[in-house]
Structure formats: C-alpha cells, structure tokens
C-alpha cells in the first residue's frame, strides 16, 4: 500500500507491505540506519524514534500507522552537517557509549526527557532510560552524560559568569 511518511522534516511517499514495521521502513526504504534492530519485539529499545516528539519503539508499529505523523530519528537530531547536538557531545565526553548499538535510542530517549524536563533528577534520568538495554556501559556513564547535557543546555541561555 502507498503511505506518506514525514521523517526528519522530509515527506516521502512509499509503497510498502502493511506488515512492514516502521523500523524496517526507516532502515530499508529510507536508508536511515540509526534506528537499530535489536530484539524486534519491543524489549530492548534500540529502535526508539521520536513520534510526534515522544519516544516510541519503531519495531512496535506498522509503517502505515505512522502516516502523516512527524518522526525524528537520530539522523535528525544534529544541528547541522558535521555538528553534534549537546547530548551527542556529552555522550562522547562522558564515555556514554562503547559499542554504540543502544546509543541512538539512548540519545533520543534523553532528548524527549529534556524537552519536557530540563532539570531532571538522577531518578528521572534512570526512569527515562529504564526501557533501553545497554550491555556495555553499565549505564553509569549514560546517566552522567545525560546529566551533563542537561546542565549545559540549561546554562546555554545564561550569561557566562552565572554558569555553574
């Protein structure tokens, strides 16, 4: 069937089988490989994308269901070509990734968290990433990276002498 998807601000018309998951559609039809296929049944969280700004699992949705709703993948998070978002920067600096398989999803989940809660507690951060599995880091540096990014984003609109 023919569907219209709006991904990272770009509209595309695609011909898909209804059983194509949004995840497979993003990866195979649009070439956006940042959403990772981990468990493919809603357990690992590696396929997380933002659906109308909210973090959801793209493996738990069929592509026709996404018709007309704005979707953001990790490819749509960077401010410009060759640049990193404050969250991506913080993940590099705080060693919030090792193999990188869970990373795009972790960053998108954190992105959704900080959009609604610019000053999260450690518990808020832990709760936000609790649906995303990481088998390398032990999570501690991921939590640190998100807290670091939150701090920087909060500080970015304040005069430099007031920044903590």
């Amino acid at each position: 069937m023919r569907i219209n998807l709006i991904v990272n601000g770009t509209e595309s018309t695609l011909e898909v089988e209804p059983r194509t998951t949004l995840l497979d559609c993003l990866r195979e039809y649009l070439g956006l490989k940042g959403a990772h296929a981990g468990c493919e049944h809603g357990v690992c969280g590696a396929c997380t994308v933002l659906f109308d700004g909210v973090a959801v699992r793209s493996c738990l949705m069929f592509a026709p269901q996404a018709e007309g709703t704005p979707i953001t993948t990790i490819e749509g998070i960077t401010p410009g070509p060759g640049e990193l978002s404050p969250l991506q920067d913080a993940f590099c600096e705080a060693h919030g990734l090792q193999c990188g398989y869970c990373t795009p999803a972790m960053i998108l989940v954190a992105h959704a968290l900080l959009a609604g809660n610019p000053d999260p507690t450690r518990d808020d951060i832990v709760d936000a990433i609790s649906g995303n599995l990481c088998r390398c880091t032990g999570y501690a540096q991921i939590v640190e990276a998100i807290a670091l990014a939150a701090d920087r984003i909060r500080g970015s609109n304040r005069p430099s002498e007031l920044r903590s």
Partner: protein, 294 residues
C-alpha cells in the same frame, strides 16, 4: 521476526470496525499495538486483517461523569499518567500506571488495549477489577456494559464478543478519607509482575474501615478480589494481625500460576505479603492525607 502478511484498514468510527470484525473472524483490532505487534512478529497471532482504531478521535478522552471517571478506550497510558483529574480522583490508577511497561510503550499503549488484552500480569485489568470498573463496548450497533469482575475468564481471554470493540471504562469515584496502595514484585523495573497487589480504603472519622477493596494480579489466570478478607476487615481498625489473618485465609484456595520465574508457592507467599502491605500502606495513606488536610 516479521509478521505474516495481512490487510490494513484504518476506520473512521467504531461501527465500521464492528462491521469488519463481524464479516471476518480472523480480523483483529489494533490500538496501541504494544502487545499485539510482538505477538504478530513472533507469529503467535496471525490476523488476516488489522483494523486500526487509533484515529477515532471520540475514543480518546478522560472525563468526570457524575460518580465516575470515564476513560475512552484509545486514551494513551501516558496521558492517564499525567492527567490532573486522574491524580485527584483515581489515585490508585495514578499509582499503578507507572508500573505499566516503560515510558516508550506507555506513549503508544492504550487503556482499552491493555484491558481487552487481559494479560494476567497486566496492572490495568487488576485496577479495573479492584475498583469495580464498568467496561462499555459496541457490537451490532448497540452499546453494552459489563463489570470488570465478569469480564475476565482466563489468561488473555475475556467475555468480549468477537464482533465487539471496547469503547470506554468507568471507574467509580470514592469520597471521604480515602487511601490507596499499589505494590508489585518483578525482576526489573517495569518488567512483567510476578505478583501485584492493589488496595483502596475509606476510613471513618474514628479511623475504622468503612470500605475496603483488595485485588491481586499476576498470581492467577486473571486478577482476583480478596472478597472474604474485604468482608472481614470492614468496620475493623485494620490492625496488622487481623489484616494478615484475613489475607491468608482469602488466598488459601487460589491456584497460583507457576513458571520458570516464579513457582506457585512463591507467588502465594508474595501475594500474602504484598496484600498485607498494600492494606497497611493504604490505611497510612488515608490517615496521612487527613493530617495534611487539617
């Protein structure tokens, strides 16, 4: 992990969905899809047609209807989690909702979907049974109602007719000095419960129990009420010894589920402890709230 082929239909209203269900017995309704899609990709479910009710706007609402709070079937779980009316009038549901899956699944998962799916370990059916909720469904052009206690008949099995679409759920509001508690034992945060317990009490001015409901989920094929314990504890002061005795007796004859993760004996033991704790917590909550009000 790819679903078997199916036809996809997005319907504009509930009656259209009912007509499709009536004409094709292998058709299934999809709401949030957070359980149905995994079942389909594992090929445990092979519907020939998916009827998508997500875009029926009139099925998504939370409103006060006299003595009850009504929630539309496709209302997202995340909306219930943040709703001020739910927090004020249905504190037990407000407590339990954060145990339902993860934030990313609550963003898509719906209230009606979880109720109709009837997973023994699911929190929402437990809350519906505990609070004597009434479920409304549409079939053959008529709206019918059924009590949550009569709705569940087995694991993933309900009395919902095969051509029916669940449309809403009504939770009765409680007035007075009300306290609630929800507790759960699971392997990791927001994973499937091994046992869950819910309790809601209303205390009189002198601290006696005017009204109490206690529910246990995940331990048996479908959520149960500890009716005999509720009868015994009414008008008591909910002292620890009486509560424990009443709960032990009420859970003596249940047939707990047993699996790789938790044996039947473990589930019974945990059910007794969680139910006892839930009643004590609900009582403290009722008393604490009153102190704040003063």
């Amino acid at each position: 992990m790819k679903a078997a082929p199916f036809e996809y239909a997005r319907v504009a209203n509930v009656d259209e969905a009912c007509a499709m269900l009536a004409s094709d017995e292998s058709a299934r309704v999809i709401a949030g899809g957070q359980t149905l899609v995994p079942m389909m990709v594992m090929r445990l479910a092979r519907p020939t047609r998916l009827i998508d009710i997500n875009r029926i706007a009139e099925l998504s609402y939370i409103r006060s209807d006299g003595d009850a709070i009504s929630i539309g079937a496709t209302t997202r779980q995340c909306r219930v989690e943040r709703d001020a009316l739910i927090a004020a009038k249905l504190p037990l549901l407000a407590r339990a909702i954060s145990f339902v899956g993860h934030a990313a699944t609550r963003a898509r998962g719906t209230i009606g979907g979880s109720l109709a799916n009837a997973d023994p370990a699911a929190e929402l059916p437990l809350i519906a049974v505990t609070l004597d909720a009434i479920l409304a469904y549409r079939a053959g052009g008529r709206t019918e109602k059924i009590a949550a206690r009569d709705f569940y008949i087995g694991p993933m099995t309900t009395n919902l007719p095969s051509d029916a679409v669940l449309t809403s759920v009504q939770f009765p509001k409680w007035l007075g000095k009300v306290g609630v508690s929800f507790c759960e034992v699971n392997a990791r945060r927001s994973d499937f419960a091994f046992v869950a317990a819910a309790a809601q009490v209303e205390l009189s001015a002198d601290g006696r129990c005017n009204r109490i409901v206690i529910g246990i989920g995940a331990a048996t094929d479908f959520p149960i009420r500890l009716t005999s314990a509720e009868e015994q504890l009414k008008d008591s002061t909910l002292d620890a010894v009486t509560v424990k005795g009443a709960v032990l007796e009420a859970l003596a004859d249940i047939a707990p589920l047993s699996d790789l993760h938790a044996s039947a004996e473990y589930r019974r033991r945990v059910a007794v402890n969680l139910a006892t704790r839930a009643v004590a917590d609900a009582r403290s909550h009722a008393i604490g709230k009153n102190r704040h009000a003063n």
